[in-house]
């Protein structure tokens, strides 16, 4: 709390009665993240190895955004300073002024607006960070006790708790508590599972993610028959999420659309052009309880609200920051945190267990290598997927090493696009039209 209070006092002072007129501020915004976290790990079946020791981390940092009296702008990263430092910020302020730049479209500070309700804090995680961390060590031991005998286990469990502070010269003063919990693990570095929310995992969720990963691991132990030309390609939820990160986020960035660095031009949004199959929708929803990507107010002071990016296959809105919203002539939108908070859906989503039983000839792609190297704008992909599961007559039938090639936008636009979900996953299993070669 100390950092945000120091900065608020400083910036208010230089807005109202600056000691030096060249440092007079017209507006400002502060975003501070105050956080404590603890993480435990297992490397090659060894808990707390020298590379994965129990780790504690604390920090208080963020960013200031300044609009000077002459309309120039400054942005700077800030972090807490030692208490013994006298007048820590005056020299910084002079430095920020030297870094000021002109951007006539970038100087808007939003006005306060009512905040939504969204559950983003789990008190159990606050207790863990206060020292009651036995639950995490117990989870680590459970990993070791229950892993398959021959498997090399890698795992990480982390918990975080803290505050987010947003202050603006327009009168917004928000502080709220938030928490995060994540676990991830893999067997033989070949197949893994994970969980990430703003609350502790529940026992049934643990069981679900563990059993599902075991099932895949066991099925990968034998080689399966090579796929054919009519074999269906299904992306596991983790892969579908990675695809969204690689192809959706950059192409729906308002700045990229406005500056023609996106696959979608502004006019196509204005015309609500159909780009995906009519059954497909895509939205950002920061209000879902305890989801990793949920929040109350953005670092720019924009209250969280649901934003539809693609509705029934048609372009609806890009992702708009305050500046881009001004350029677009619209209101700022919700913003995902990475792919967290981004939700892909189909009007006829199936239950995965039932859908799997109906797959006579398929390949489930559990992971891909090299997705981050693909050209986001074109939508094209050409990926290696050496850990894929053959599906025959509704059952897993061994491991196959395949390469998949296609275009993600065409996959989502294809009339045969299908999605299936489990209760646990917010991201679907996704049927795509990839070309496939096996090796």
């Amino acid at each position: 709390m100390r950092l945000v209070a120091q900065l608020e006092e400083l910036l208010y002072h230089f807005q109202v009665r600056p000691d030096d007129e060249t440092l007079r501020l017209k507006g400002w915004r502060i975003f501070i993240h105050e956080m404590k976290s603890v993480a435990l790990g297992i490397k090659d079946n060894s808990p707390g190895s020298v590379y994965t020791p129990p780790t504690y981390r604390e920090g208080e940092r963020g960013e200031v955004f300044l609009v000077w009296a002459d309309g120039r702008l400054s942005q700077a990263k800030v972090q807490a300073k030692p208490p013994e430092v006298k007048d820590p910020w005056i020299e910084e302020l002079r430095g920020w002024r030297q870094a000021a730049y002109e951007d006539p479209e970038g100087g808007r500070i939003v006005k306060p607006a009512p905040l939504p309700l969204a559950a983003v804090e789990d008190e159990r995680l606050e207790k863990i960070l206060a020292g009651e961390d036995e639950v995490l060590f117990a989870q680590l031991e459970r990993f070791l006790n229950e892993k398959p005998d021959k498997a090399k286990l890698q795992a990480q469990i982390s918990a975080a708790w803290g505050y987010r502070h947003v202050r603006t010269s327009t009168g917004l003063a928000v502080t709220y508590q938030e928490s995060q919990y994540g676990l991830s693990f893999s067997f033989d570095r070949l197949v893994g599972g994970g969980f990430a929310k703003r609350r502790l995992i529940e026992p049934e969720e643990w069981e679900d993610v563990w059993q599902n990963t075991l099932l895949h691991y066991e099925a990968l132990q034998e080689f399966g028959p090579a796929p054919g030309s009519k074999t269906a390609v299904i992306l596991a939820p983790a892969v579908a999420e990675e695809m969204l990160g690689q192809y959706i986020l950059p192409n729906f960035s308002g700045q990229n659309v406005l500056e023609r660095r996106s696959a979608f031009a502004k006019e196509r949004f204005e015309q609500k052009e159909g780009v995906f199959a009519p059954e497909v929708s895509l939205e950002v929803d920061p209000l879902r309880p305890f989801e990793w990507g949920s929040y109350l107010v953005s670092p720019e002071g924009v209250p969280a609200e649901r934003t539809v990016l693609v509705g029934k296959g048609a372009l609806a809105s890009p992702l708009l920051t305050v500046k881009d919203a001004g350029r677009w002539g619209a209101s700022p939108t919700a913003l995902p945190q990475g792919t967290s908070g981004l939700y892909l859906s189909h009007t006829r989503e199936e239950d995965w267990e039932r859908a799997l039983q109906g797959v006579d000839d398929g390949v489930l792609v559990l992971s891909v290598l090299g997705l981050h190297t693909q050209d986001s704008v074109s939508g094209d992909y050409s990926l290696s997927a050496p850990q894929s599961l053959r599906i025959l007559n509704g059952k897993f039938a061994g491991r196959v090493d395949v390469k998949v090639n296609g275009n993600f936008f065409k996959d989502l636009a294809h009339p045969a696009v299908r999605m299936a979900k489990t209760q646990r996953n917010v991201m679907p299993y996704l049927w795509v039209q990839s070309g496939m070669q096996s090796f």
């Binding site: 808990p47 190895s49 590379y51 020791p53 981390r57 290598l369």
Partner: protein, 495 residues
Amino acid sequence: MQQNELAILVDAILKKVAHGDGYVIVRAESRRERSLRLSNGRLERVATGGDEGLGVQVFTAQGVSGFASADVLSLETGLRLVERALSLAQRNERLGAKNNREIWKAKPLQAEVKNPARSFGEVPLAELQTRCLALHEGVRKAFPEAVWQSSFRQVEDSWCIGRSDGTRVSFTIPRAVLMHQGTVHQEGKSASTLVHRSGTDAQILGEEQTDHRLERKAAERAELARAVSTAPFLASGHYPLVIDYGLAKGLAHEAFGHAVESDHMQESVLGEQGKLKRGLKVARPSVHIMDGPLPGDWAYQPFSANGLPRETVRIVQNGILEAGLGDIFSAAEAGMAVSGAGRAESYAHVPLPRMSNIRLIVDEAAEFQESGTLMGDVRRMREVLLERGEIKAGEKTLLLLGYRGGQVNPKTGDFVFQCEGIVDLGDEDLRIYRPSIFSGKILSALQAIKLGVGAEAFDAIGTCGKGGQSVPSSGGSSRFIFLEVSDQVSLGGEG
């Protein structure tokens, strides 16, 4: 905080700590940076800032560790972190964590490497803005059909690492990079390109204003991107390949370097029962791979994050696997020498063995005079390979241009890379294809390396993402590397 101030703070913390039978490593880091982003002829963002803090790793007498970090540089914070890390180490010991007392064997070292760059703020921000705007305008004029985004980033990263044995090493790493990213739209299709120029300080802007090297490269790559956007896909298969030195750096880094890091030996395809397969023939006798810091380089680091000298390692000599990249904690177990390979993204991260500048060197090298243009070089390359009888006209030999990144599974030896475009050197008209994944088994790729073409260049830069951290990496090879066809190395496929 300056480098000498970091050393004073680390000293003060270690003097106040009761070491007992345990062991403490303190890492203090102070990084400052400034960055500019320009788009469509205007400044989009100018940002200043940095990051500084302390990371403390404490070992119990048995060699079990805990780690704590905070983003404040102060004695009080340091002492509190030592207590917290010790408490975690003790809890870790009760969990049955594996002991590791290797750090006790490290030799004490006191050393200091001064910042080799010019003063961080020598070029004022206002001047930086003017220069960057001029360079951004230059690339826009050089290829107006593309949408350009330019950025400049300058970092000064100071470290001090202290240990219970009296070790104090401190150093400052300066880095600067100018980048142009272009997006080309053609017949409803798009493709993009990214080029960069790196150095130690803002002087690279002046150099670029003088020689326009990056601007020319950007325009040529944008032209390639335009051709690529409407080009056909290549049928998947196995082909003779030529890769540029950026891809060669990627190959050496992703496909080989990671597999010889000491913490990977338990599952690496280049390990056997946890030990490096020293003596394994991995390539032709003319092929060598080495890794080590180069002063002024993007990935330069004179000492490891554990306070040991960073050594240059000859990983492969005459085609034989000779050595690995070992940090103090796992080198002995992995059957390799300690080479000070531990690096960390920041004070808040636990160091891991990783590469610095990795070089792929081929003794058998064909002479090659650069033409000054990309496609001119490509044509000369074709002529050189035809003259040497390495390729035949009419038979596909594919040149992969522009490294977009890669990934490897060290356990299985599978690697993938992506490039910006492909040119068929077997075709008189130098037909262009869309990029497709370059993948295969790492040993097969190394064994396929036959020839280097042109002068060596080791300034291909990137960021290594091992362990979820982001650490600068670099490397290179001859200007081009020729790989014979291999049935374990393939190019992607049709969409």
